[in-house]
C-alpha cells in the first residue's frame, strides 16, 4: 500500500463493467455467493478485451437463474423459452451472419430440456458461443436434480440422494462436434475471461462450462459450506489440464475438478458448408441472402 491509495471514489467513476449492464435493472435477483454474477463479470472483461463491436453482439438465454443473464446484459438480448435458447440463436445467426450470437444459460436449460438442441447445434458447428453456468441444480425452481447433479447429492427431488449417472458436459460437447471446449470454475476468473475472449474470435460452435456455486440450494443442502468454502474447494480440487481427453474429466460431488481448454479445432461451420455446397451445385444461380454469409 502506498500513501496515494484512498478509499474515496472519485466523482464520475464507475465500475468498468457498468457500461455492459442494464444498471437500471439493478439489484439483480441472484443470491449472495451465487457464481453467475462472477461469470458475467468475466464476460464483460471478455467483451472489452476482444474489442468486438458491441452493437453486433446478441445474448440469448433460456430459463432459469442463468437465463436471467440476457436481461442484465446491455446488449441486444433475448430471454426465450426453457431449453430453446440455442435454436432461437440459430435462427438469429443464420438470418444475420454479421451478428456474434452468445448463448448464456444453465445446466438444466441447456442439457436437460434443451439437450437435443445442444448436440445438433454442435453437430452442425453452428457459429454460436455457448456459455453454460453449471451449478449442478435447478436453482430457480428450488434446487431439484439436473442432468449434472452428482451422485449422492441431495436435491429437492432426490431427497435420499441422487443416483442417476450424469452428463459430462465437455465430453458431450466434444463428441457432438464442438470446435472449442473449455471448463473453468468461478474461482478461475482470469482463465474464464481469457476463454471467453478466445471464443469471441473463434468461428464455429464454442462451448465453455463454468462450475458455479449455488450456496442457497446445492451447497447448503449438501453441507458443502458457503460460497467461500466452495471457492476454497474449487481452488484445492481443480487441476488445470489443457488438452486433457474429455473422457477423463468427469465431475463428482467432492472430487477432483479437471479444468482447462480441452478442444480447439478448426472445422468448417454451418454457413461455410452451406455456401460451399450451394456455390458448387448452383454456380451463378446461387443468390446470397441480404447479409452475405459466404465471407
Amino acid at each position: 500500500m502506498t500513501e496515494t491509495t484512498t478509499l474515496e471514489i472519485p466523482e464520475g467513476a464507475q465500475n468498468p463493467v457498468e457500461p455492459f449492464l442494464r444498471m437500471d435493472r439493478m439489484p439483480h435477483i441472484w443470491c449472495p455467493g451465487c457464481g453467475i454474477g462472477t461469470t458475467v463479470n468475466c464476460f464483460t472483461r471478455a467483451l472489452l478485451d476482444s474489442k468486438v463491436n458491441l452493437d453486433k453482439v446478441a445474448v440469448v438465454s433460456g430459463i432459469g437463474c442463468t437465463g436471467r443473464v440476457a436481461g442484465y446484459a446491455r446488449l441486444d438480448s433475448f430471454h426465450t423459452t426453457h431449453g430453446r435458447a440455442i435454436p432461437f440463436a440459430t435462427g438469429m445467426k443464420l438470418a444475420n451472419p454479421e451478428l456474434q450470437v452468445v448463448v448464456y444459460s444453465g445446466d438444466g436449460d441447456l442439457f436437460a430440456i434443451g439437450g437435443n438442441h445442444f448436440i445438433h447445434a454442435a453437430r452442425r458447428n453452428m457459429d454460436l458461443k455457448v456459455i453454460c453456468v453449471n451449478n449442478m441444480t435447478y436453482a430457480m425452481t428450488g434446487g431439484q436434480s439436473s442432468s449434472t447433479t452428482p451422485a449422492q447429492s441431495i436435491s429437492a427431488t432426490a431427497p435420499y440422494g441422487a443416483f442417476e449417472p450424469t452428463f459430462n458436459l465437455v465430453a458431450l460437447a466434444e463428441a457432438a462436434g464442438a470446435s472449442y471446449v473449455a471448463r473453468w470454475t468461478t474461482f478461475h476468473v482470469k482463465q474464464l475471461s481469457r476463454s471467453m475472449t478466445e471464443v469471441l474470435h473463434k468461428k464455429g460452435f464454442c462451448f465453455i462450462e463454468v462450475l458455479s456455486p449455488c450456496p442457497t440450494l446445492y451447497q447448503r443442502r449438501n453441507k458443502l459450506g458457503d460460497a467461500l468454502e466452495t471457492m476454497k474447494y474449487y481452488k484445492a480440487a481443480s487441476k488445470i489440464r489443457n488438452g486433457a481427453p474429455t473422457s477423463e474429466t468427469a465431475l463428482s460431488m467432492k472430487g477432483e475438478i479437471i479444468v482447462g481448454k480441452f478442444v480447439d479445432r478448426d472445422r468448417p461451420d454451418y454457413l461455410e458448408l452451406m455456401c460451399h455446397q450451394y456455390t458448387e451445385q448452383l454456380g451463378e444461380r446461387y443468390h446470397e441472402q441480404e447479409v452475405p454469409a459466404c465471407g
Binding site: G71, F78, T81, I86, P87, F88, G91, L94, L282, Y286
Partner: protein, 385 residues
C-alpha cells in the same frame, strides 16, 4: 410497398396447395424457413429448400418442431420475415412458441396442414380439428390470426395476407390448410410483383435512447427494431413493461395482456375476410371453411334446386372470429348449418355469436375424408323446415 421481384414466380402454374403456399411465402418476402418433416405439410418446405438459394435466404431443417418454431423467431428479430410449416403432432409441439411469439409480439407465420387426429391419427388424410388449438393451444390469454384457404390459389393469396397481417399486428398468424387443400392441384395465377401488396416491417424511427420496444402506437401495436443496430434492446417472454423489462406487477400484466387482445379488434370488427353467396334471401346459412366449403357449395346448389333458400358464409378469417357478422345474420335467418371435419369446433363460435337468435346445426365428421354433400344437404333440408 410491392413485392420483391426476386421471390415472385409470375405466371400461370399448375400447383398443389402446399407448393402454392410456399410461393406465397416467397412472394410475401419470407426469406427464412425452419421446418421439420411431417406429412402432409412437408412439400411446403421442400419447395422452399429448393427455391431459396436462388432467391436469397435460408432454409434449415431443425431437429424438431420446438426448434423450428423458435428458430423463426430468432430470424425475425434479426430482421427477416420467417415462417414454419407443420401438421397435427408438430403443431402441438409448437404451442409454447406460438405463445412466445404472441407475448413478444414477434411477426411470424405458422402453416398447419391439418390431418386427422388426435395424436398420430391419420397422417395422410384430412382433418379440421386443430381450429380451437390454433386459437387456444398455448397457455395464457393472447390473440392470434388464423386464415383458412380452400384452394391452391388461395394458398398463394392468403399466405401473402398472413405475412402482411403478422407485420401489421405483430402477431403469429396461422395458415390453416387441410390435407385436401394442401395436396389438390389446380391452376394458380401468380401476378406481376407490382401487383402484389406487401406490408413491410414497421421499424422505429426513434433513436435508441428514446425507443421503448413495447410502447404501442395509437393502433396498440409497437414499432420494431432488429438486432445489430445499436438499440441494445431486451425481449422476454416474462410479463414486461414498455421498456421490455420483466415486471411481475399485476398492473403490468393487465396492461400487456389486454393490449395483446385489443390490438386485434379491427380484424374481428369489419376487416375479417369471408366469402358469401345468396345471403339476401337466405333462410339457412351454411358456415364452412377450407375443403369443407367446397363440399358445402354442392350441398347449397342442391338445396337451391329444391327451392330451399340456402346461403353461403365461408370463413376465410377463422380467428379472430367474425362474431358481429354472424350475430347480425342470426337476427334474420332461421338456422346455420355448420359442417366441419371435426366433432364440433367452429360451430361453437357460431352458436356463441348467434346467441339463440337462430338454430345452429353442426354437421360433424371425425375426419379422414370429406363430407358427402348429401349429409350437408340433409341438414339444410331439416333446418329449413
Amino acid at each position: 410497398m410491392h413485392a420483391d421481384p426476386k421471390g415472385v414466380l409470375t405466371g400461370v402454374h399448375f400447383l398443389d396447395g402446399d407448393h402454392s403456399c410456399c410461393e406465397g411465402a416467397l412472394a410475401a418476402g419470407a426469406r427464412f424457413a425452419a421446418g421439420y418433416p411431417i406429412t402432409p405439410s412437408t412439400e411446403v418446405v421442400e419447395r422452399f429448400a429448393s427455391r431459396i438459394p436462388t432467391v436469397g435466404g435460408i432454409f434449415i431443417q431443425m431437429e424438431d418442431e420446438l426448434a423450428a418454431s423458435i428458430a423463426i423467431q430468432g430470424a425475425a428479430w434479426a430482421g427477416v420475415k420467417a415462417f414454419t410449416v407443420t401438421s397435427g403432432p408438430g403443431f402441438s409441439l409448437m404451442m409454447e412458441h406460438i405463445g412466445l411469439a404472441a407475448m413478444t409480439e414477434t411477426p411470424c407465420v405458422f402453416v398447419n396442414v391439418q390431418r386427422g387426429g388426435p395424436s398420430t391419427g391419420l397422417p395422410t388424410l384430412p382433418g379440421q380439428a386443430d381450429m380451437m388449438q390454433a386459437r387456444w393451444g398455448s397457455h395464457g390469454d393472447y390473440g392470434i390470426i388464423a386464415l383458412c384457404p380452400n384452394s391452391p390459389q388461395e394458398c398463394f393469396d392468403l399466405t401473402i395476407q398472413a405475412f402482411n397481417l403478422s407485420e401489421e399486428f405483430r402477431v403469429p398468424v396461422m395458415m390453416m390448410l387441410d390435407e385436401c387443400v394442401g395436396h389438390m392441384t389446380e391452376k394458380v395465377v401468380i401476378p406481376e410483383p407490382d401487383q402484389i401488396e406487401i406490408t413491410p416491417r414497421r421499424y422505429t424511427k426513434l433513436p435508441p435512447e428514446e425507443y421503448q420496444p413495447f410502447a404501442p402506437r395509437e393502433d396498440l401495436v409497437p414499432d420494431m427494431v432488429r438486432a445489430g443496430e445499436g438499440y441494445r434492446f431486451h425481449i422476454t417472454g416474462l410479463t414486461h413493461d414498455e421498456r421490455g423489462y420483466p415486471n411481475m406487477g399485476t398492473e403490468a400484466q393487465d396492461r400487456l395482456v389486454r393490449r395483446l387482445l385489443a390490438k386485434l379488434k379491427p380484424l374481428s370488427n369489419g376487416r375479417a375476410l369471408w366469402e358469401t353467396e345468396n345471403l339476401e334471401d337466405a333462410d339457412v346459412v351454411v358456415v364452412s371453411y377450407g375443403i369443407t366449403s367446397r363440399v358445402a357449395q354442392r350441398a347449397i346448389q342442391l338445396a337451391r334446386a329444391r327451392g330451399i333458400r340456402a346461403g353461403k358464409f365461408r370463413l376465410i378469417t377463422a380467428w379472430p372470429f367474425p362474431a358481429e357478422r354472424i350475430r347480425e345474420l342470426a337476427g334474420r335467418v332461421k338456422a346455420f348449418v355448420v359442417p366441419e371435419l371435426n366433432l364440433g369446433q367452429m360451430v361453437l363460435e357460431v352458436e356463441r355469436a348467434a346467441a339463440g337468435q337462430a338454430k345452429v346445426i353442426p354437421v360433424s365428421h371425425a375426419g379422414g375424408t370429406v363430407h358427402n354433400p348429401d349429409t350437408i344437404l340433409k341438414a339444410i333440408v331439416e333446418a329449413a323446415r
